[in-house]
Amino acid sequence: MASAAMAAPPKKHPKSPKSSGSRPRIPTWAWALPPVAVLGLVFLYPLALVVQQSFQPDTGGTSLQPYADVLASPSFLEALRTTVWIAVAATVGALVLGFVLALVIAFVPFPGGKAVARFIDVFLSFPSFLITLALLFIYGTVGMANGLWTDVTGAAEGPFQFLTTPWGVLLAEITYFTPFVMRPLLAAFSGIDTAQLEVASSLGARPARIVRQVILPEARPALAAGGSLVLVLCLNEFGIVLFTGAKGVTTLPMLVYSKAILESDYPGACVVAVVNVLVSVGLYGLYRVVSRRAGA
């Protein structure tokens, strides 16, 4: 890489600094203005409009009425509860599963481990709704698992009916988001000198103790980073819930979509959107504080 810059010597001599010194210099901070202006126009200003519209009911004027209406509705409270518990459970599941799988790839290496790690990278580049689509074939009413069950037992229908419940969403989210935990963990594990493990092991430490006292302290920053990313992504997940197509599972992003697009209730959608952003940012902040306390 060093040669990339140095191999090509400048063909003509750049002007000496003296000649350009007479021009007025643009201050450093001014270079930050164009991208910030673009971001403001296409992201911050629209976001401010959403907040503004959440205070403007269809009847006109400015009031807290939209908030009172939405916050009192049982469907909103149900969606809020569902969103938070699925996101927290999926984050915990992805952290545990990701830690175990990354541990095996890094420290109990097997032929093909590199290929598995590469597969994880590819997996990350696929959209989330593919998992739900696949689960429909595996656990759906006429899918693989139920088909196997009815073939073997002769029953009319199989026992796997959880796909349209929150558990189906949870399974899909854990599946999709575990690689997001594994990648930073694998990067962190590659920095651990295996001699440390050999020393600990030769001193009589059992694998569980090595994991707890040698590997876990090294892995904490990666776990914290992966966990916070997954928590936010789970709180904001939409594709998985949309593809599940279950009336019983409504999360906050789903509620924003159905209020805005299906019911054309824009003030209501904006209220849910504001609450959703606050919940995401709030839980993210809480998570960072807790994980910092825990020493990450």
């Binding site: 450093t28 696929f126 689509l133 689960l135 092991s201 992003p253």
Partner: protein, 265 residues
């Protein structure tokens, strides 16, 4: 290394594959199998056909693929320009300004994509910026969503960049623009191509904001997949999904080739 006995190793590997295969490999295999099947009512699919692919590569589906490609390429290039510019500008600032700028550009990740879609819908549905109903509103939303990732990759790479190269160039009399063009950007090239690949993949699979915004004549592939599976055409949906995955992987592979070439040049 962690487990020394032969028996323990095999047990660990068995647990690993018992978790890994059903959770990660099976979903992709199932979608692939379903895209060639006419019927799936027992343990395995039945009736081999390539008809879903014939349907998936013509008419509305083919148009959805080109729509997705155009959207993803445009959004990635725009995001790369804005994200790189912001990262370079932030890098030149003092610690506090840098932190503010980085936080601002990471904000679209913390905000739900559906809300980003709603915000853009609200803001660009009224004059003077009337984009609603055109393809540009979709491209704009994708750009906003992926810029954060471009910015993050480039600023992480800038933090690792050895300042000795640019200092040497500047001490030899190179102007800042010359240093940027001939020293810093070439050094950043591997990161830039990797970031472009990431942005492209994210934009190809974007569904949440797109569902809020897409006009009838600009339906990207994920929307088409949703429409197919929503009306019960799961096999057609699978074929479209395989087309989406294959396209993404092929483009990523091409980008990866550029990256390896760039780093050995």
């Amino acid at each position: 290394m962690l487990v020394h006995s032969r028996k323990g190793k095999w047990a660990t590997w068995a647990v690993f594959f018992l978790l890994f295969l059903p959770l990660f490999a099976l979903p992709l295999l199932v979608v692939l199998a379903a895209s060639f099947a006419t019927n799936w009512s027992s343990a395995l699919p039945s009736g081999f056909t390539t008809g879903h692919y014939t349907a998936a590569t013509r008419g509305a589906s083919l148009q959805a693929l080109t729509t997705s490609l155009v959207t993803a390429v445009t959004a990635s290039l725009l995001a790369l320009v804005v994200g790189t510019w912001a990262a370079l500008a932030a890098h030149a600032l003092k610690k506090r300004g840098r932190r503010v700028l980085d936080a601002l550009f990471m904000l679209p990740v913390a905000v739900p994509s559906v809300v980003v879609g709603l915000a853009i819908l609200v803001a660009f549905s009224q004059p003077p910026m009337l984009l609603n109903g055109t393809r540009w509103i979709v491209i704009l939303a994708h750009t906003v969503l992926v810029t954060a990732f471009a910015h993050q990759s480039v600023s992480a790479a800038l933090a690792r960049l050895d300042p000795a190269y640019e200092q040497a160039a500047a001490s030899l009399g190179a102007r800042p623009s010359y240093v940027l063009w001939r020293v810093r950007l070439p050094l950043l090239l591997p990161t830039l191509t990797a970031a472009a690949g990431l942005c492209f993949a994210l934009s190809m699979g974007e569904l949440s904001a797109t569902m809020m915004l897409y006009p009838p004549d600009w339906t990207p592939l994920p929307v088409q997949i949703y429409a197919a599976s929503d009306r019960g055409a799961l096999f057609t949906g699978s074929a479209l999904a395989v087309v989406l995955m294959t396209t993404t992987v092929l483009v990523l592979f091409a980008v990866f080739r550029i990256r390896t070439k760039a780093s050995y040049r």
